[in-house]
């Protein structure tokens, strides 16, 4: 595991800062560091795949077919003689792209609707809550499959399918926050100084409601990664040309009985590590941010 901040290499003030932070936050801090490192590393791969990938992921002549990990092919080759290592690296773009975009769409939609629903109340609130509760009560993956099947293949459709199932999470969270913040004294004070509705929502409620959204966002991405992988595993995902971990995993399944473990293991590992990275990041943020929010 890479250790960019190993105590041995960092010196002076940065060193003291890290130790202080560790003392202050303990385990959460280490989890945060590990999570951040993983995420940053994979993001780096997504942006600059050429730096590490020895081959083009679509290149069908990188080595002997179905060969195990070797010096030429660090993670072996698949049935089309493509280098798995390169496919893993390029695959990070796909999965991050979809997961991230889905999370952005979900959060924008969920937060906005949650704010409006919570603030306006009445019929709008009831209808929206009903819709959101319905979506929420469906097992996420099943719903995503349904949407993906309905919308058809394509990057945008997959992103949308994944996005929809997380909107209720943001909605509920932000609506709940809005409802309680609405009763706070500073909102009443804002009305007293003449703030109109939109100013109150935008300037007083929204900034105080989004703190937890940041945490949810990270966990959302982790979940979206798993969902996207699952969708492409089933074959509901992206067109064949794009390197995709989930699809590779599905492909590799066929060759497992003959002892070709590398086609399955590496995509699986990558999915797991990336999801883990975002989860650690999210959970650690939750721990670190929450007590500070309550601190004087």
């Amino acid at each position: 595991m890479r250790a960019k901040f190993s105590p041995a290499s960092a010196i002076g003030r940065p060193f003291k800062l890290l130790i202080d932070a560790n003392r202050k936050y303990g385990l959460e801090w280490w989890l945060l560091v590990i999570g951040t490192l993983i995420v940053l590393f994979i993001i780096f791969l997504a942006f600059f795949p050429q730096t590490l990938a020895p081959y083009d992921p679509l290149d069908q002549d990188t080595g002997p077919q179905l060969s195990p990990p070797s010096r030429e092919n660090l993670m072996g080759t698949d049935n089309l003689q493509r280098d798995i290592f390169s496919r893993m690296i390029y695959g990070s773009r796909t999965i991050l792209g979809v997961a991230f975009s889905a999370a952005i769409i979900s959060s924008l939609a969920g937060v906005t609707l949650g704010l409006l629903s919570g603030f306006l109340g009445g019929v709008i609130d009831r209808i929206l809550s009903l819709i959101m509760d319905s979506i929420y009560s469906f097992p996420g993956l099943i719903l995503a499959i349904a949407f993906a099947a309905m919308l058809g293949p394509g990057v945008f459709n997959i992103t949308l399918a994944v996005a929809v199932i997380y909107i209720p999470t943001y909605f509920r969270l932000v609506r709940g926050q809005t409802l309680s913040i609405k009763e706070e004294l500073y909102v009443e004070a804002a009305r007293a100084i003449g703030a109109k509705r939109w100013t109150i929502i935008g300037r007083y409620i929204f900034p105080n409601a989004i703190a937890t959204v940041v945490v949810i966002f990270s966990l959302n991405i982790a979940d979206a990664i798993m969902t996207e992988a699952a969708l492409s595993y089933i074959g509901l995902g992206l067109p064949a040309g794009i390197p995709d971990w989930g699809m590779d995993l599905s492909m590799g399944k066929k060759f497992l009985p003959s002892g070709t473990w590398w086609m399955v293991t590496f995509p699986g590992l990558m999915i797991m590590i990336l999801a883990l990275g975002f989860t650690l990041l999210g959970e650690a943020l939750a721990e670190i941010l929450n007590p500070r929010l309550l601190e004087r």
């Binding site: 004294l185 500073y186 004070a189 007083y204 105080n208």
Partner: protein
């Protein structure tokens, strides 16, 4: 003296929350709490009128009604002779600049995500007064005036980073930034430390002189009311039971509740210890208050007539009224 605010037969009712069982089995109309029960008084320009009472008296609700943070059930609120409930949108906007409120809990009155400077300057932004540069200048000057220094340091601080006393100064500054003429102060010192209270009181006094302000000072602490107010109205269970000048209320209290209240106020002087027993009983439920005069079950002088009808005001002097049939 010019009449700035006039309250005429103001009432506010709140429905009582009932559980499902109550609704099913008790039936009937939803019980109401008469938080404010037909009160009338005026506030003159330049004075400090105290609105004093214990919990459930309706004093805080009155304050909010004047600012139209809640809407009255019935009655009139006049500002400079015009009915506030008939205000046009423009008139309401002007009102929000001219009439301000300061709440009891200063930290909760400030958004945790707005810095001190932003919070104080926000009213200016809302009303479109002054551009960014000028706003910052006005805010800084005001911060200096209320004792929030060093200004540059505190400008960027957030509510959780400053003390309670400082928070209250921020709230005061915010209330003053649009040059109001009338401020409702709802228990502004109740949550502050003892020595901080004195500072805020003194500050409020100075600001009143300097900015020609009029105050409605809502409090449960009669000692403070005596210190700061020119006139005082005593409230009990939603009604005004007595109103008069400072000397009249504290020197010649008429209503038995006022008398009981004054006797009960703790005096920071062991030589002045209370020798009499306080009036018995506790404040009754606001949902089903005693008939007639609300205070009659606890009143040492109660007569039969007291439980029959709401006592009318007795004019003791041109400035002194008491809602009691006795004497």
């Amino acid at each position: 003296m010019e009449e700035l605010i006039r309250i005429d037969h103001l009432s506010k009712e709140f429905p009582v929350y009932r559980s499902l069982l109550d609704v099913l089995f008790a039936g009937g109309k939803n019980p109401m709490v008469h938080a404010v029960d037909d009160i009338s008084f005026s506030i003159h320009k330049g004075e400090v009128l105290g609105l004093a009472g214990e919990s459930g008296s309706g004093k805080s609700t009155t304050g909010r009604l004047i600012l139209r943070l809640i809407e009255a059930t019935s009655g009139k609120i006049e500002y400079r002779g015009k009915d506030m409930q008939e205000f046009s949108r423009h008139e309401m906007e002007v009102m929000r600049e001219k009439i301000q409120i300061v709440f009891q809990d200063p930290t909760s009155s400030l958004s945790p995500r707005m810095s001190v400077g932003e919070a104080i300057g926000h009213p200016l932004k809302i009303h479109g007064i002054a551009d960014k540069e000028e706003r910052k200048q006005r805010v800084s000057k005001l911060m200096e005036r209320v004792g929030l220094s060093p200004v540059d340091f505190l400008y960027r601080k957030y509510p959780h980073q400053i003390s309670g006393g400082q928070s209250q100064r921020v709230v005061l500054a915010r209330a003053l930034v649009t040059n109001p003429e009338f401020i409702v102060a709802d228990e502004p010192i109740a949550m502050a430390d003892v020595s901080v209270r004195a500072m805020i009181l003194e500050l409020m006094r100075e600001l009143k002189q300097e900015f020609s302000l009029t105050y409605l000072f809502i409090t449960h602490d009669l000692a403070t009311a005596k210190y700061l107010c020119d006139r005082v109205a005593i409230m009990y269970l939603g009604r005004i039971v007595e109103i008069g000048t400072r000397d009249e209320i504290f020197g010649r209290p008429h209503h038995p509740y006022t008398q009981a209240l004054l006797k009960a106020v703790p005096v920071p002087d062991p030589a002045a210890r209370r020798t009499e027993e306080v009036v018995r009983g506790e404040i009754p439920s606001a949902i089903e208050p005693p008939a007639g005069c609300h205070f009659h079950p606890r009143c040492p002088y109660a007569k039969a007539i007291c439980s029959e009808a709401r006592p009318p005001f007795k004019e003791i002097s041109s400035t002194h009224r008491s809602a009691c049939v006795l004497d």
